[in-house]
């Protein structure tokens, strides 16, 4: 801000701070903007009260308008009293909340899933909070987390084995999303480096792999994992269904991740490589200490973008018969007790997905701010 003391006789400039100033600057700067703003306000005015009324004020949770406990759809106010003005029937979500979260995981073992969720948060802490005490040790735990999670969820080492066909709901969605993203990230880095490699065999292999995977839709890979993979395996050998899907999802994500990171690598000026080589760093040292930290830093928005995409794409597994969060919802609708309550189920599933994807995008914003991923990076 410049010092304006030389212009005391003039009127103060139109306020650009404060609520009014902000509104004027962002919402009503010219007549087109003002019109759009008014239209949006009108739609929100129509939509929000209606949605709140449907989802909260006129909605049934445990009991219906007569105060009876809702045990099936016929107790929902809107079914019992179709002429009245009734909202959503959330009893289906409440009654089936366990299934939505864990699928058919045995309830006496479910503490293992909860512990895994808790440990996932612990594993994420060193990534989320930079100044956490003992970050170095926590990072080690983060790296070991997939193995710990696997043993906890599946079993072995004295834990009862819970076959994956009992897993379902958010558990499957998170396993596919978290494992898929976590494994695909290092794989993507290797593929990106490989594609830019001077060694023709490696670069050709990586290019072929990336282009092949990117050339087919995820659903094709899922079918490949489900239908074709068993044919290549020796007879009598069965790869677990969830593992097959995870392999397909990971390969898919790795190919996209590789291209995102390659984009970051392209942006690093030649001088950085030459400087690294001139101080005698080896190929891996150069990438680890100089190139990748910068490349990944500028790729963060795209990395998070593809990760969010993958997280949502996991719902495709319904087509090969795995019951993820959405699949469990559809299963609930196929129960004659609750049929017809599809709005409630889909709104709930959408909300859960939104919570996760929105957190991911906020995290990426935080990272961008923290690392100052702008053009003038390195200035600080």
């Amino acid at each position: 801000m410049e010092n304006n003391s030389n212009f005391e006789t003039r009127k103060p400039p139109v306020a650009t701070t404060g609520i009014l100033g902000w509104c004027r600057l962002h919402l009503f700067s010219n007549w087109v903007n003002s019109l759009i703003t008014l239209l949006v306000i009108y739609f929100l005015y129509q939509l929000i009260p209606w949605f709140l009324d449907w989802s909260v004020f006129s909605a049934d949770f445990w009991t219906n308008y007569k105060g009876e406990l809702i045990v099936d759809r016929t107790f929902c106010s809107r079914v019992a009293d179709p002429k009245g003005d009734h909202g959503a029937c959330w009893a289906i979500i409440i009654v089936r909340f366990y299934q939505f979260m864990y699928g058919f995981y045995p309830s006496e073992q479910v503490w293992r899933v909860n512990l895994t969720y808790f440990l996932l948060v612990v594993a994420l802490l060193p990534l989320l909070i930079e100044k956490i005490p003992g970050r170095k040790h926590l990072i080690k735990f983060t790296i070991a987390f997939p193995i710990v999670a696997f043993i906890l969820l599946y079993g072995g080492f004295g834990f009862q084995v819970i076959p994956t066909n009992k897993w379902g709901g958010l558990l499957v969605t998170l396993v596919l999303g978290v494992f898929g993203i976590a494994i695909a990230f290092p794989l993507g880095i290797l593929l990106a480096l490989g594609r830019r490699s001077q060694l023709p065999v490696i670069s050709m292999f990586c290019t072929l792999f990336i282009e092949f995977i990117r050339g087919v839709p995820l659903i094709t890979l899922l079918f490949f994992g489900m239908v074709m993979l068993p044919l290549f395996l020796p007879e009598g050998l069965n790869l677990d269904g969830l593992v097959r899907v995870l392999v397909a999802v990971t390969l898919f994500q790795a190919a996209y991740m590789a291209e995102v990171i390659r984009g970051g690598l392209q942006a690093i000026p030649r001088g950085q490589y030459e400087a690294a080589q001139s101080v005698g760093l080896s190929y891996w040292q150069m990438n680890r200490k100089i190139i990748l930290p910068q490349a990944i830093r500028i790729s963060i928005p795209s990395i998070v973008n593809t990760s969010i995409g993958l997280f949502k794409d996991t719902t495709l597994v319904i087509i090969i018969g795995l019951l993820d969060l959405l699949g469990i919802g559809r299963g609930a609708l196929a129960d004659a007790t609750w049929m017809g309550l599809s709005n409630e189920v889909y709104v709930f599933v959408a909300l859960v997905f939104f919570i996760f994807t929105f957190s991911m995008s906020r995290y990426s914003l935080y990272l961008e701010k923290k690392l100052k991923t702008g053009i003038n990076m390195g200035a600080d």
Partner: protein, 334 residues
């Protein structure tokens, strides 16, 4: 680390020994049965996470026959596309997933249909506002159709034979079809008549929808197993037959104990009081008793899951016993 790898190998690669399926199932201690990802009345998880439905009852009957305990089943959900590879690869022991018995599936895909638990036929459902009362009047309609099913081919045949055109809107699941139909994105939904009843029952106002009288195909739905293991096929076949025979003989889950002292010879044979029919199947002689006691007979299962008193409200029609005007018929138990 080595231990870790070996555990991973166990989860990733489940070995199935090449002994008979029945021995595998007995050694494992539970049956692995493939069902749909959810179809009203036929298979769906209840609030407690237990699977229930008309197809599920066939799985439960087989488990009751083998273990004397109908709860010893693990269900694997399959879709129209994944069901056959799942069965072929040995991930499941049997498939009870409203699957139509056709020549190519029986012969070319290498499966064995052990019988029919529901005689269905493909029909059409339209909004009553469309004002059409016969499917031949559907020229130019947009039709919601599940991909990878026999209904897709039947539809093409029917419209071609009648010289009328249609536009197909391919969809993957029953729910999707329902949403598309109710949202008006297609004029017609075609699938098996049982599925249409289920879809209609889910409408906010079922009267707004009509199921046309045209039935354009034979859809015998039944459980199936892999080719080549006849002993296992026999176990599943006679578990299914037991449900039907029990209805023929008037044995149900509530009178099955009294029937043990019946004076009708076939009842005594079925319940294992006389003869060694269970042993022939390498099961216990009271396998049929266990099925009837725990699952019930055919009509009990029908009424509980899809019958007139359920939201589906499907009548027995073709699925009535041969003595009641239907075509349901099981070979004699002797």
């Amino acid at each position: 680390m080595k231990k870790l790898l070996s555990i991973f190998a166990v989860v990733a690669f489940a070995y199935t020994a090449n002994a008979g399926t029945l021995d595998d199932v007995k050694n494992r201690g539970f049956l692995k049965c493939g069902v749909t990802t959810g179809l009203i009345g036929f298979a769906a998880p209840d609030d407690a996470g237990n699977w229930a439905g008309f197809d599920v009852d066939v799985c439960r009957a087989v488990a009751a026959a083998i273990f004397g305990d109908s709860s010893k089943v693990e269900f694997t959900t399959t879709t129209g596309k994944s069901r056959f590879p799942t069965l072929a690869s040995g991930e499941i022991d049997m498939l009870a997933r409203n699957t139509t018995w056709t020549l190519s599936r029986d012969v070319n895909l290498g499966f064995e249909f052990v019988g029919v638990n529901y005689y269905d036929g493909q029909g059409f459902m339209i909004p009553s506002a469309l004002g059409v009362d016969d499917a031949t009047g559907l020229d130019g309609a947009t039709v919601c159709i599940q991909t990878g099913t026999t209904t897709e081919l039947n539809l093409a045949d029917f419209f071609r034979a009648n010289g009328i055109g249609y536009e197909a809107l391919p969809i993957e699941t029953n729910d999707e079809a329902r949403e598309n139909l109710f949202a008006g994105r297609c004029d017609v939904y075609t699938t098996d008549a049982s599925g249409l009843s289920a879809t209609r029952a889910q409408a906010d106002d079922p009267d707004k929808w009509v199921v046309l009288p045209n039935i354009i195909s034979k859809e015998p739905l039944g459980p199936l197993v892999r080719h080549g293991d006849h002993q296992w096929g026999d176990v599943v076949r006679w578990s299914l037959n037991t449900l039907i025979i029990a209805e023929e003989l008037g044995i149900n889950s509530s009178n099955v104990d009294d029937m043990k002292s019946s004076n009708i010879p076939e009842v005594l044979r079925v319940l294992g009081v006389e003869g060694g029919y269970g042993e022939m199947l390498e099961l216990s002689n009271d396998f049929a008793y266990n099925i009837i006691k725990q699952v019930g007979n055919y009509s009990e299962s029908f009424d509980r899951n899809i019958g007139p008193d359920t939201p589906l409200g499907i009548g027995r029609n073709l699925n009535a016993l041969w003595t009641d005007g239907g075509i349901l018929y099981a070979p004699p138990f002797r």
